[in-house]
């Protein structure tokens, strides 16, 4: 377990890659002004989508970076929450239960969190590299299940026509409102993860990642800490899952395919697992590539390029883009690395 998150290097506290107050303020201003400075396409397809994918990847970063547990089931958690929105709410297949949003959303969040907790209960039975195997198997099983099950999940076709409620006279699926909604959820989740990492609970989780046996020996309930981390990650993933189903407007087994689960892992790893900013950085890069790689290369081979980019990052920079930026910052600003701001967009 000890060398899971930071192979080949000493483990570090998150403070080692400094994201200063200045950096946060700059990032916040840029993110808030982004819709005003860009077209609706950029606001919705690039901005909002990056924030949603980044939030799902953030839940993985919380588990993998702080907890040392690489779970491939986070996309399934998000997907299940999305499915619940479709099933409890309304959809064009006419199969929704038609609950109002203030019931459907909490129900989706609770069920998503529950799934993540159950995944945690199972995954913590074994350690380290086994976690990835078990969570991958769970993700695959859920994918095949949604595909085969018609009564609940409507099988292959899934559900379509899912939209966020119109509240306060605002259509929340319009580019700008949806962007700010995603930004609010992302910022809240980001702040929650950052805050949690500095609480006694978060520090214990990181200590357990570094040496579970020692923590067990000095009386910490290792299993409970790990399951709680899964639950928190589940809540974040479920929140993002609700946004994702609104973004897509539909959900089907393809949403939670292994391919998608792996892409969340790629986003988190490429961005960097050391700091909650990493997943968002990875998501921005991923979404930009997905949208604009078409202009330069054969779009049909997108997966090959993503795979190669992923391999290069894994092989060269264990801390992802964030690690690379940290190194650049350190060389450029050797004296005052602590004042370095993080380029966010």
């Amino acid at each position: 377990m000890t060398d899971i998150t930071t192979p080949g290097s000493t483990l570090a506290t998150p403070a080692e890659i400094p994201v200063s107050v200045v950096g946060h303020v700059i990032a916040a201003v840029l993110l808030l002004l982004f819709p005003a400075l860009s077209s609706d396409f950029f606001t919705f397809q690039i901005g909002a989508y990056s924030l949603v994918m980044g939030t799902i990847a953030l839940s993985l970063m919380l588990l993998a970076g702080y907890g040392g547990m690489v779970s491939l089931a986070q996309m399934s958690v998000a997907g299940l929450a999305g499915y619940m929105i479709a099933i409890f709410g309304t959809n064009s297949s006419g199969a929704g239960l038609g609950w109002p949003w203030f019931l459907a959303i909490p129900a989706a969040l609770v069920i998503g969190t529950l799934l993540s907790t159950v995944v945690g209960l199972l995954a913590i039975r074994t350690e380290g590299i086994y976690t990835i195997v078990i969570t991958l198997a769970i993700a695959m099983a859920l994918y095949f299940f949604t595909q085969q099950n018609v009564e609940i999940f409507n099988g292959h076709s899934g559900f379509a026509g899912i939209a966020p409620p119109v509240l306060f006279g605002i259509d929340w699926r319009a580019p700008k409102p949806f962007y700010y909604l995603s930004l609010a959820v992302a910022a809240l989740s980001y702040a929650a993860v950052l805050y949690a990492s500095r609480t006694p609970f978060g520090l214990s989780v990181q200590a357990i990642r570094d040496n579970a046996r020692r923590m067990e020996a000095i009386g910490y309930n290792v299993a409970a800490h790990r399951i709680a981390t899964y639950a928190l990650a589940g809540l974040i993933a479920a929140l993002a899952g609700v946004l994702l189903v609104w973004f897509d407007g539909r959900i089907s087994p393809g949403t939670i395919s292994v391919d998608r689960a792996v892409k969340i892992l790629i986003i988190a790893v490429v961005g960097g697992l050391r700091h909650p900013a990493g997943p968002f950085l990875g998501a921005i890069l991923f979404v930009l590539l997905q949208n604009f790689a078409i202009d330069f290369v054969n779009p049909e081979r997108f997966n090959t390029y993503i795979g190669v980019a992923f391999l290069i990052v894994v092989l060269t920079s264990p801390d992802g883009l964030l690690g690379l930026l940290g190194k650049l910052g350190n060389t450029a600003n050797a004296a005052g690395a602590a004042n370095k701001s993080l380029p966010e967009s």
Partner: protein
């Protein structure tokens, strides 16, 4: 009764196929602690190469040989070019295998497109064989025997033969002894003067070759298409979780349980077949996290 026997036999043949795929996976993990998530890609690529070779030469056995050997070579290359440099970094190795599987799946799609390929075994394996199982008696007293596809019987036999051969190789030969020693204590094996990297190469060649072999014989029984890599990776994962990572006997036992469960699930409650498999995995994790045949890790 007929349905039960047929389902049972189908389960057995599926188990044979799962065993072929999963034994390579578990062997590689046992020695190198390398969770090779590109194992499914080796299966699929082996199937495609076997198909091409069989198509060119009109000889199914050459197809099998080509698929097996090509993947064995690919396995050695993976070990020598990639994994050797990441030794002891389990997570990075796994991430690298994920990257490889993504690229491999995409490139295979580019070369062989999304079509489903099917190819025939030699003529003497096509058709059915009457099994000595009496279904009923005709009015004159001659028994009606149960017919079963010959090829599936061949698959079952192949699984058995390879299983026994693998067991003998690991338990009765000198190299097998080295492999077992390596599973238990790699550092100590290294210290006794044995070139561990040669052993690693051999094991990876066997593991990947088995995946390629399974790709061809499994692809003949069912079909080859994109997505099969993920399916057989899932099968391997569940089989080794149930059987115990690193144990070939465990892979056999796990494959038997999962193969039977899947077929009986499919036959008796179709929509929830996958759930049965999953429930078995959960039960195994709950009561025996190290798997049925796995050793508890310290």
């Amino acid at each position: 009764m007929k349905m039960f026997i047929l389902t049972f036999l189908n389960g057995l043949t599926l188990a044979a196929l799962y065993f072929l795929v999963a034994s390579g996976f578990t062997l590689v993990f046992g020695l190198m602690r390398n969770v090779n998530l590109a194992h499914g890609s080796l299966y699929l690529l082996g199937g495609y190469i076997g198909y091409e070779a069989a198509n060119q030469t009109h000889n199914w056995f050459l197809g099998v040989a080509a698929g097996t050997l090509a993947m064995a070579v690919a396995g050695v290359l993976l070990q020598v070019l990639v994994f050797r440099w990441l030794e002891g970094q389990e997570l990075r190795q796994t991430l690298v295998t994920i990257g490889i599987s993504i690229i491999a799946a995409d490139l295979m799609l580019a070369v062989w497109s999304g079509n489903t390929y099917q190819f025939d075994p030699p003529a003497w394996l096509i058709g059915t064989t009457q099994l000595p199982i009496v279904l009923a008696h005709k009015s004159d007293g001659t028994p009606i025997l149960l017919p079963y596809p010959t090829y599936r019987l061949f698959l079952l036999a192949a699984g058995l033969v390879i299983g026994v051969a693998l067991w003998l190789f690991i338990n009765k030969t000198r190299i097998g002894m080295m492999i077992r020693a390596g599973v238990d204590d790699r550092g100590m094996l290294d210290a006794t003067g044995i070139n561990v990297h040669v052993i690693f190469g051999i094991v990876f060649a066997i593991g990947a070759g088995l995946a390629g072999f399974a790709g061809v014989v499994g692809g003949t029984a069912l079909s080859i298409a994109p997505g099969e890599d993920v399916r057989y990776l899932l099968a391997s994962l569940v089989v080794v979780i149930v059987g115990g990572l690193g144990s070939v006997t465990g892979a056999a036992l796990g494959a038997l349980i999962i193969g039977l469960a899947e077929q009986f699930g499919l036959a008796y409650f179709p929509t929830y077949g996958i759930v049965l498999t999953f429930v078995i995995m959960v039960a195994a994790l709950a009561f025996r996290p190290q798997g049925l045949m796995g050793k508890a890790r310290l």
